[in-house]
Each structure stands twice: as structure tokens, then as C-alpha cells.
Symmetry: C2
Subunit: 437 residues, 2 copies
């Protein structure tokens, strides 16, 4: 039989990468629990119609959809928000609100593989149901910021907007088909936007929309100033301007540093209802966006009671890529603390007793040499595993009731009564040899 | 639009369950790292042929197989061992051996849903490549035992066998088609086995096979004694008997308590090569098996160099079910340590400063009251979340630079200068109120 490859667009995560990833996810879980969020885990596949209800039938081209053996139309989930909302409606409506949920899970999209884009990718996400819109926005952005910061990535750029501005102006201008406007805004196509607004007769709101677009890269205070001025002649945007002012002030108290406003933002206009934000790691290049979120309301479309919700999703794979840029690539395997090498048949039971004791009483990683090799080869293996201490139990040691501890960093060694080896290792060796990690 | 359900045979894991599950998996990860194992994560789907190469085309009926948009035949993985071996051959052959890998991952099988059996299920597993067969067996069983024990389940039954006995006897009896024999052994069908062995003319080995089958429930020492006696007239099983004796002795040194031998075990005969073991939680009823493992060699079939491997897989879902039998069902949500309730507009910035400080400086879970409710409703929410302390900041408190701390267990409360609230909470409140967790 031939050899096998992993499917195109997927990856194997090896031990060195997984160690870093787990350390990050452990921190994220602690942050989530510290903020009162509870973890949920939904099935990897859902009914196809769930995601069509959220994103329209057009999403089908990006999905790993399949029929099960009973003809049900299923799909690997392309994202978690719809799934978490489905699970909420099915099983959690009785829980006290505001309800705070988070997930760490994989998603699947059938798209052209490229750097930082995989067909199976992982997300950290949170959803907050039933909060006051302003407080929910603060909580969501502050939590996303904490989770992003925990990765130790040097530069994070937060862009914040609010769909209330563009939505208000389009309603005021009686623009019935907002999609073309939003597409032009999103592309930053000033001239196209101007022509389009004239064509559809939305002259009244052309000026403020173009002003917002022109100012999107200006300092946040300037944009806020502009929006405040615009609100005097366009009262439809007054509530949004007030919301943004209060939001920025509270984010300052929640210790979220400089945020860049982008008042012409048009992200996911269809199901976002208010605040939207995106976070980039600029050094990641084309695939630099590591987080997106905002305020939305999907529950009514899913057959439930309309409920304000805010949430975000962080791309784990890109965060780890960004972390590698700062910290370098991980070693392929974790370093080993202790290798116990039995060099005589009667040493083997002693070796197992010893590793069992070390595993029971310390947090050190410890192995018995499992290939039955001689000392030279065992030391070579220990070296390849970046081992700190090798514990040698040969015939002489068995006879003397001792073990020889050898520190690989400087080659020093000493004999320790076998009963004291675990305690010696646990203490990191008090006697000025190379310290244990 | 209508409401949505999760797909048949799948589950949503809610916060209370996930909290227990994460606590268990955190312990398992620590045990794996303590034993020198590195975590791997392979794609959720693989090429269909990978699992056919391991288990034969018959497995297709149990798979969630599908074609991707380029016509590739893919399948959700039904288990991890084949995937980890594929990943090893593709990316890890250069790593020092013995190589120790583990995974915590989901698998998918299309089968009739029933209690303790889901179409998406989760496994903890470990694979050890390139160890000495005896030492590899000890390590694998000892590690599985530690991981199982960590769940705090009361009764765990380990059954240990070795395919060398039956394999040796069948070879000695020149039985060319072992499958029917194995099926009868597995069913414990003594009469059927006897008739079949006579029919195929394997008279010579009928007696020892029937003896092993008859003794499978006898105490381990009796079965070992029987095997030792049989080995005098059937030298083909001599090495296996010696292996089992040494294995049991070393497991004793590795602190694995009583193991029940089953020398007529026929588990997964096709790719297991020697030792096999299974662990049951008897109180789980029909779906009581929580762990299976053994020695195998898949690499040659996958186009690599033959390498002795031992491994196991633990069913996470069943372990959590067993844990529930001991500890009861979890609460739907985690308890909350601290709820901060701002009761005046000017208290809101102070509330955010305070939660930010508590989140930065303690491991407590802390929320701002996010729905803008009055004190009565906020206390009702706090009660529903099983909150320990409510921190109230109203107009009076803002003016005095204080906050009122209220312990819900006994209703006591006291005022604390706002700057000292985080420290007071962190200290678990030194002054004899209800202690914080």
C-alpha cells in the first residue's frame, strides 16, 4: 500500500506548536472564567439550513456540506456563532441573563489554501446575550482585548465602528438598496460612491457619507468631532454618536488602550446591528485580521425572541503565527526533565518505582529509557530530547542502593540514595548543580 | 424561519459539563506531559483510503464520508490512531525515538444513537513508537491507568490479554483462516469453537484453546499457571507466557493495581500484534468500556518502516458519565465569585475600573452587572449565578469613595474604600465573613 498525505489545505500540529497553543488556550480559558463566561461545545456538523439562515444560500459554495446516510443535509460548521445561538435556543433559554458563553473550536471553509488561511481553522469566541447595548459593547471589546493581549504579540491594531451611522444616513436618504453603497464604502471607492449616490438620487446624504469615508484614517477624535458636527444637520445619527462617545470613555476605564475609529466601516452589515470592531496584527501581511466582532441579533431569525447580543471571534492559528514572529518557531518536541536509565535487568523494577514516585510527587516530566539501550545511546537520546538530568541505575548502583544523577548541561554527576532521588529532583537539587526547570 | 435542532446523535456540552470536562482534561494533559508525551492535533477529516487501509473497506458503512468539491474522497475520522501514524510518517520520522505522542480529539461514527454512544465522540489517546515491547507495554498500561484514575471514578476493571497465545496456537495448528475461531472466542462460544476446530482438523490445538477460553474468568494467577503448563507441550506460546509474567511484575512496580487476565481475548486481532487491554466502568451498563489499547504495528501497511507501537484510547464522554454517577450532575453554570453593581451613571466608570483591577490581580470570576438593572433585580441575578459577593456602587458610595460589599450566603455587608475593594476580595476577606473560594 502506498503512503498517505493529509488533505489539501489542512495541517498537522506537532508537539512543540501544541505546547505553545495549549499554554495560550489555558490563559484564555482563565480569562474567560475570570470574566464569568462559561464554555460550550457544539457538534462539529450542523444542519446546512442553519448557516443558510444566517448567511444566505450563497455561503453553500464555501461549505463542506454533505448528506448523511438518512439524506439529511449537513455541513461542517463554517463558524460558531450560529451554532451557539442554535444551542442557546434549544437548551439555554432558561439560564439567567445576561448569559455569557465562550467556545474554543474548529471551523471549516472550502477556499483556496494560502499562508495563514486553512480549510480547517480554530477560533476562540465569546457571545454575550441580553446585556445593555453600551455595557455589552464595553465588556465584549475589553474581553477580546485581554484574550488577544495574552498571546504576547507586540502590535495589535483595533478598528472600531458603528453601523448606526451609515444605516441612519441611508435611511434618511431613503436608500432602499444599501448593498451597493456598502460595497463601495468597504472598498473605500470615493468616486464610485459619489457617482452611485447621485444616480440613485440620494443627494441629501451623499455629503456626510463621503465626509465619513474621507475621514476614516484620521485620528479618532477628529472623526468623532466630524460625526458630532454632522449630527446637527442629520439627527438620525445622534444616538450613535453619543453611544460611541460613551463607549470610548468606558473602554478607557476598562484599560483598553488606543482604539482607532473607522466611522465608514461596513463590516457584515446584514446581521450586525450596531458596534463592530476588527483587530489586526499588521506584521501578518495580507491575512492580518486576527479578530472580528460586534453587536448582532440572530435569535429572531432562528425562531427565538429577539435579544441583543455582542460577540467576537479570534483566529487562533493567526495568533500563534504572530506569536512565532515574536518568539521564533518552537522546538519540535518539549524538553524532558528527567530520563531514568536502567542498565541491568534488576534495575528495571527500580526504574519503574522511581518514575512512578517522581510522577506522583513532582510536576517534572520523566521517562524510563524504553528502548533498552546502553548508556551511550541513552545519553544521545537524552541529548536529543534536551533532557536536564539523567538518572542512571546500573549493577553497581543496584548493589549500593543508589542512583547516579547526571546533569547534561555541564556533565556533572553525583550518587544519591535511591530513596532520595525523587526528593532531590523535586527540590531542583539544592546543591548548586544545574537547576531543574 | 423555523427553529433549528442539533443533528441526530450529537450533543451540546453546556458550561457546567464543560467545566468538569476541562478540569479532567487539564489533569490528563499534565499527566501526559509528566510522562514525556507531546500533544498532536491532526485534521478532522482525512482521505477515506487511510482508514480503509487500516480497517478494510467494510468500515465505510460506519463513516461520515464525503467528496470535496475537487472530487477527493474524504471522511471525518472514526478514530485517531491511523491519523497519528499518517502524521508521523509525513512529518515526524526524524524525531528521536521512542517517540511519545498523545491527542485529545473528536471522532465520528455513523451508528444508531444510544445512551453513552454518540455520532460525535471524544477520545484521549496516546501512541508510543519504537519502544522495547515489554517496556512499551508497561508504560502504556501505567499511563492509561493514571489518566483513568484522574477522573475520580470509583471502580475501574482492567482486562489484559496477549494475542501471542491464540496466534501461536493457531499457527501451530496450521489454521489458515483464524477469523471464525476469533469470532467464536470473542463470543465465548465454547461449543461452537469445539465443533469448528474439529471441522477444520485443528484437533491438536483444540484442547489448549478450549482450556484458555474456559479459564478466562479465573483468577489471573490460575490463568498464568494454566498457560505455563500449556507451554510445556505447546512451545509456540512460551515467549508470550514469559512476557506476560514480566509485564505483570513490572506493572506492580509501576503501581498499577490488580489487573484481570483474559488469555482468550481476541480484540482487534488484525492489527494488534501482542498485548491488548480493555478497561471497564461496570456501573455504566451496556456501554461500559472506557478504554482500549495494545501493541500494534500499522506503519508498514501505511508505506513506512515497521515499528513496534503501543497505544490506548479513552472515551472522554463515558468517563464524564461515570464521573457524574459519583459526583452527581453538574450545575448548569459555574458559580460567580463577584458581581459589581453600579447604581448611578457616575458609578459605571468606577465599576469598570474595579472589575479590570480584580481581573488583573486575582483569579476570581467577576462581572459588571451588564443589564443596567436596579439592586433588587441585580441581587436576583447574583443569586441565580450562585454569586459569593456583590459589590454595590451607588450615589452614596460614589460620594464617599466607597463600595458596599454584600455576602450573599448570610446577607452581611460592609463598606470598603473603593481603592481597597480588589485587595479585600483577593484576601478572601480577612474579617471572618463568608470566605471566598
Amino acid at each position: 500500500m502506498g503512503s498517505f498525505q493529509r488533505p489539501r489545505g489542512t495541517r498537522d500540529l506537532l508537539p512543540g506548536t501544541m505546547q505553545r497553543r495549549e499554554a495560550y488556550l489555558r490563559t484564555v480559558r482563565a480569562l474567560m472564567h475570570g470574566a464569568g463566561y462559561g464554555e460550550v461545545l457544539t457538534p462539529t456538523f450542523e444542519h446546512l439550513e442553519l448557516f443558510e439562515a444566517k448567511s444566505g444560500a450563497g455561503i453553500r459554495d464555501e461549505l463542506y456540506a454533505f448528506d448523511d446516510k438518512s439524506g439529511r443535509k449537513l455541513t461542517l460548521r463554517p463558524e460558531l456563532t450560529a451554532a451557539v445561538m442554535r444551542a442557546y435556543l434549544e437548551e439555554m433559554t432558561h439560564l439567567p441573563k445576561p448569559l455569557k458563553l465562550y467556545y474554543i473550536a474548529n471551523c471549516f471553509r472550502y477556499e483556496r489554501p494560502q499562508a495563514g488561511r486553512y480549510r480547517e481553522f480554530w477560533q476562540i469566541g465569546a457571545e454575550l446575550l441580553g446585556a445593555d447595548p453600551l455595557l455589552g459593547d464595553v465588556e465584549t471589546i475589553a474581553l477580546a482585548w485581554r484574550c488577544l493581549q495574552a498571546a504576547g504579540v507586540e502590535t495589535l491594531h483595533v478598528r472600531l465602528g458603528h453601523l448606526g451611522l451609515v444605516r441612519g444616513l441611508l435611511a434618511e436618504g431613503k436608500v432602499e438598496q444599501p448593498e451597493p453603497v456598502l460595497r463601495l464604502l468597504d472598498k473605500g471607492d470615493r468616486q464610485g460612491l459619489q457617482e452611485h449616490l447621485l444616480t440613485i438620487g440620494a443627494d441629501e446624504v451623499a455629503a456626510p457619507l463621503l465626509d465619513l469615508l474621507a475621514a476614516r484614517s484620521a485620528p479618532s477624535q477628529e472623526q468623532l468631532q466630524l460625526a458630532t458636527e454632522l449630527s446637527q444637520s442629520h439627527p438620525s445619527i445622534l444616538p450613535t454618536v453619543g453611544h460611541l462617545q460613551r463607549l470610548l470613555a468606558l473602554l478607557h476605564h476598562a484599560n483598553v488602550p488606543s482604539i482607532h475609529l473607522d466611522l465608514a466601516i461596513a463590516r457584515g452589515f446584514d446581521y450586525y446591528t450596531g458596534m463592530v470592531f476588527e483587530v489586526d496584527v499588521p506584521t501578518l501581511g495580507a491575512e492580518k485580521q486576527v479578530c472580528g466582532g460586534g453587536a448582532y441579533d440572530l435569535l429572531e431569525a432562528f425562531g427565538g425572541v429577539s435579544t441583543p447580543t455582542t460577540g467576537f471571534a479570534i483566529g487562533i492559528d493567526r495568533m500563534l503565527l504572530a506569536q512565532e514572529q515574536t518568539r521564533g518557531a518552537p522546538a519540535p518536541l518539549e524538553a524532558l526533565d528527567v530520563l531514568v536509565v536502567p542498565l541491568a535487568p534488576q534495575a528495571i523494577p527500580l526504574a519503574w518505582q522511581l518514575v512512578t514516585k517522581v510522577r506522583d510527587t513532582t510536576a517534572l516530566s520523566v521517562e524510563v529509557e524504553l528502548a533498552g539501550r546502553n548508556l551511550g545511546k541513552a545519553l544521545k537520546y537524552a541529548d536529543a530530547r534536551a533532557t536536564t538530568v539523567v538518572v542512571i541505575i546500573g549493577e553497581r548502583e543496584v548493589a549500593a542502593g543508589e542512583a547516579t544523577l547526571r546533569w547534561l548541561s555541564d556533565g556533572t554527576q553525583r550518587s544519591v540514595p535511591i530513596d532520595l532521588v525523587a526528593a532531590t529532583l523535586r527540590a531542583g537539587d539544592g546543591s548548586a548543580q544545574a537547576p531543574l526547570p
